[in-house]
Amino acid sequence: MTAHLDSGDQPPRPDVPRIDAGEPVTQAAHTGAPTSYDQLDDHELLRMHVAGNPDSFGFLVKRHRDRMWAVAIRTLGEPEEAADALQEAFISAFRRADSFRGDAKVTTWLHRIVVNACLDRIRRRQVRAADPLPEDEDRAAELAGPSEEDPAEVRERRLDVLNALKQINEDQRAALVLVDMEGYSIEEAAAILDCAPGTVKSRCARGRAKLLPLLRHWQTTRASDVPEESAAEAVGTE
């Protein structure tokens, strides 16, 4: 733990953004036969889209929408806003797919477009200033995802994090989601957020300090699930 005392920027996690999000089960279920679109990788689908195929981009969207929804809903907090941001992002990606550089991951490219669409909305919202978004409590259960898809504790934790994130300042939230949740480095996050690396660090630090009391019960629960990592009980460790 004390190693973190002198640690600088976190190295980018190699596993983020993820690319392994599969086709939703429903798609395969009613076709019966294996569809070859499923077997095409992201690059191939995007290449076909640029070449004029009318369907391949839709498959790309289906493949990655749950990942991108996670990014948008965490960053924006409100499902309406998240849905609008994703729509903008995917239309933008659809139209400028020919600007995609083949050496990058399609998910990295998509991810970046989604993040930018979310940040645009935050900036526009900040310009409008006194325009608080209405609470939409009815959506809470749905936000946690269909109950048949994930165990109750997964959905509960997801909701806890979403609700806690909603309670902190949106600049801090955006920085925290990028760095802690999406695994961007401080420098990458600074470039995306168009601010100094020190500002990103500061927003992350203050965001974590605010989130801590909101998620402490969540941490304690998880710590008891994983006894060897029971940080909450580890009093006075080096």
Binding site: G198, A234, V235
Partner: protein
């Protein structure tokens, strides 16, 4: 509290959570960072907060790796928007209503389902509009034997496509597979992405003056055939790009 031998002033006040979070991010000036570090080492309570903040980052990272299923209504609307975008791109005339629907402010997500259906409907009308204009160019000129398609490209208009295919398939109970192997493979690739990938017909064609491929897929029932006219399959390594589709119902099955 003083068993560590540090000056008692280090223990007089606990660090607040902000300071500890700043310490973790190396944001404190050197002297303050040193004092804070010494305090955390000596104070179980602040060490606990320190550890909890580090753990919070780890937990957020773990949570961040999990996807969140997109709500069904949002997903359906998004699909419809992408379809409309595809139609818009494929069309040569502007379909302004699509853009209007997309920009329309939405008050409540539950309404999206209806909006999505609207987009799909207009998307279909959009295709109709586009090809209605192209249909004027080349009238008539169907093949001589109306009951079976020729092995090479048949000349036809989109107006005649549905009735003609109905006639062919009613007289040919098996699959009709014409065109080069590459053209048929292209058609099968196209078919594999559709809900009903069972290919009943591949036919090279010249439709409204342009080289195209007609693809017939088994519909939801054995009597229903989904017909697509696509470009792209006649070129080597090409990708099917549909510009017209219709459904015909066979009378003798």
């Amino acid at each position: 509290m003083t068993e560590s031998g540090l000056p008692t002033s280090e223990h007089l006040e606990h660090l607040d959570t902000d300071t500890i979070a700043d310490l973790i991010e190396n944001l404190l000036p050197a002297p303050e960072a040193h004092r804070a570090r010494e305090h955390v080492k000596a104070c179980p309570e602040c060490q606990q907060t320190y550890d909890a903040l580090v753990k919070l980052s780890e937990d957020l990272a773990e949570e961040g790796r999990a996807d969140i299923p997109m709500p069904t209504d949002v997903a359906e609307h998004l699909d419809a928007v992408i379809v409309s975008e595809s139609v818009l791109r494929a069309s040569t005339v502007g379909v302004h209503s699509l853009a209007q629907i997309r920009e329309e402010p939405r008050r409540h997500l539950p309404k999206l389902l209806g909006a999505a259906a609207g987009v799909v409907l207009i998307a279909a009308i959009g295709v109709g509009v586009v090809f209605a204009t192209k249909d004027n160019a080349n009238e008539g000129a169907a093949s001589t034997d109306q009951n079976s398609p020729p092995a090479d490209a048949v000349t036809i208009t989109t107006n005649d496509l549905g009735p003609q295919i109905q006639q062919w398939l009613e007289h040919n109970p098996g699959a009709i597979m014409h065109g080069s192997a590459a053209e048929q493979a292209c058609a099968r690739t196209f078919a594999s992405g559709r809900p009903n990938p069972n290919v009943r017909l591949v036919q090279p064609a010249k439709i409204d003056g342009k080289r195209a491929t007609i693809i017939g897929l088994q519909g939801g029932s054995p009597r229903d055939i989904q017909v697509f006219a696509v470009t792209g399959c006649s070129e080597p390594g090409g990708v099917a790009s549909p510009f017209y589709d219709t459904t015909v119902t066979l009378r003798n099955r």
